[in-house]
């Protein structure tokens, strides 16, 4: 039976927890706004992962992890037409280019990286199909999900905090009129610099995220750090009033006479049975 839903409503952490606890085997496909990801699990462990956009071949992964230079990558690519990842892996090991452990480590890092990227997706339709295995020519690993779930939970908490600070992405940003005195010493990250040119009250955060290719989580992180630095400000919507605290109400059966309560319940049970 397939498990379907949207990451907006059912988070990846919850999903991984389910797969881990139920020792599930199958494929998780997540369709995001700009990309799709396929992750395979075996008995509740991460086995394989690939994205729709990248080169997911072994040679591509080794190049990405800088174990192969660009020239080596092109050379091998040109000569391995039709060769499966397993065959290529054996060839590279037998030719003493890499050890088996180096190849497995690279794959493991890549698969974890693909899965971690999903944590930054706040939207995306997912479908988990049980008993679907990765393609036979692919090399699989076995990675416990516990640490990934913990990391996902931590990130979810951070996201929750960011959502409190920046409740909506449909708001604009502008530079503050009088930035703090420490602005001369401010050092911005590469991602923050990507966002800076789009800081304009006319641009919403979701528009900036789209044009800078940042996930919702990432744009919130950047905007929050720029807010903290005191160089931009938001136009905020009014926040809803807090909910009243709940109060406890006693159970009428429990607070009454025990034997009378049992008698009442027995009468109700008998009546419901006859419905």
């Amino acid at each position: 039976m397939a498990i379907k839903g949207n990451l907006h409503d059912f988070t990846l952490t919850q999903l991984l927890n389910l797969i881990n606890l139920a020792h599930k085997t199958g494929t998780l496909v997540v369709e995001g706004t700009n990309d799709s990801v396929e992750v395979f699990f075996s008995n509740g462990k991460l086995a394989y992962a690939q994205t729709g956009e990248e080169d997911n071949s072994l040679v591509g992964i080794l190049h990405k992890s800088e174990l192969l230079s660009a020239n080596q990558y092109r050379g091998i690519k040109a000569n391995v037409n039709g060769m499966s990842d397993k065959e290529l892996g054996l060839l590279l090991i037998n030719a003493n280019y890499f050890s088996q452990q180096e190849i497995l480590n690279s794959l493991q890092i890549h698969f974890i990286d693909v899965l971690k990227r999903l944590f930054t997706w706040m939207e995306g339709f997912f479908q988990f199909e049980t008993d679907v295995s990765p393609p036979e020519d692919k090399i699989t690993v076995r990675v416990n999900l516990e640490n990934l779930i913990l990391e996902g939970s931590r990130q979810a908490q951070e996201l929750e905090h960011l959502e409190e600070e920046i409740p909506s992405l449909d708001i604009g940003v502008k530079f503050v009129d009088r930035p703090g005195a420490n602005i001369a010493n401010l050092k911005l990250s590469q991602t923050e610099w990507k966002v800076i040119p789009y800081v304009d009250p006319k641009n919403t955060l979701s528009q900036i995220a789209k044009v800078t290719d940042l996930a919702d989580f990432e744009i919130r992180q950047v905007i929050y750090s720029l807010l903290q630095a005191g160089i931009i400000e938001l136009v905020r919507p009014t926040t809803p009033a807090g909910e009243p605290p709940p109060k406890r109400i006693p159970d009428p059966i429990v607070k009454g006479d025990k034997e009378e309560g049992k008698s009442i319940l027995t009468r109700i049970i008998n009546r419901i049975r006859k419905l």
Partner: protein
Amino acid sequence: MQTLKMVVTGPFNAGKTEFIQSVSEIDVVSTERKISSEIERIKDTTTVAMDFGRITIDSEMTLYLFGTPGQKRFDFMWEILSEGMLGFVVIIDSSRPETFREARKILETFRAYAPTPYVVAANKQDCEDAWEVEDMRIALRLSPEIKLLECVATKKNSVKEVLLELLYSILAELESVEPALVN
């Protein structure tokens, strides 16, 4: 005449009205209105105040089933409805995992209002996309002792089973209560 009350709660469009309808001896008294919110356009009308159904137990006693409005903006009604209830049923649409988180919140809210017994009904188990109950248990973070029951709210026998399980829980809780000390 003694009147008793059970509450049927759960997210929007989980099947609360159908659940009550299936066992009520009167037409469910419902205050349905056209929906105005964009997000709630799954169905044409929804419960904005409450539903209630009736089961006459005998000449001296009547059981009322109250359905809570599903939308968050009516949650001020929940506390009023929960007052004096025997127990409550949380209905969840098994085919809409996007509502599970909300269901969990509703469950926790009702637990805070009244520490009465409750059961969780995994409704729409006849749907193709329905999650298996044990998967739902994990997703909803329900501990093993909480009753999570398969349910099809449009079928009377299925609803009866859920209500009976709730009543058995209430009975078990009552039996576990120590008699009060008398001075």
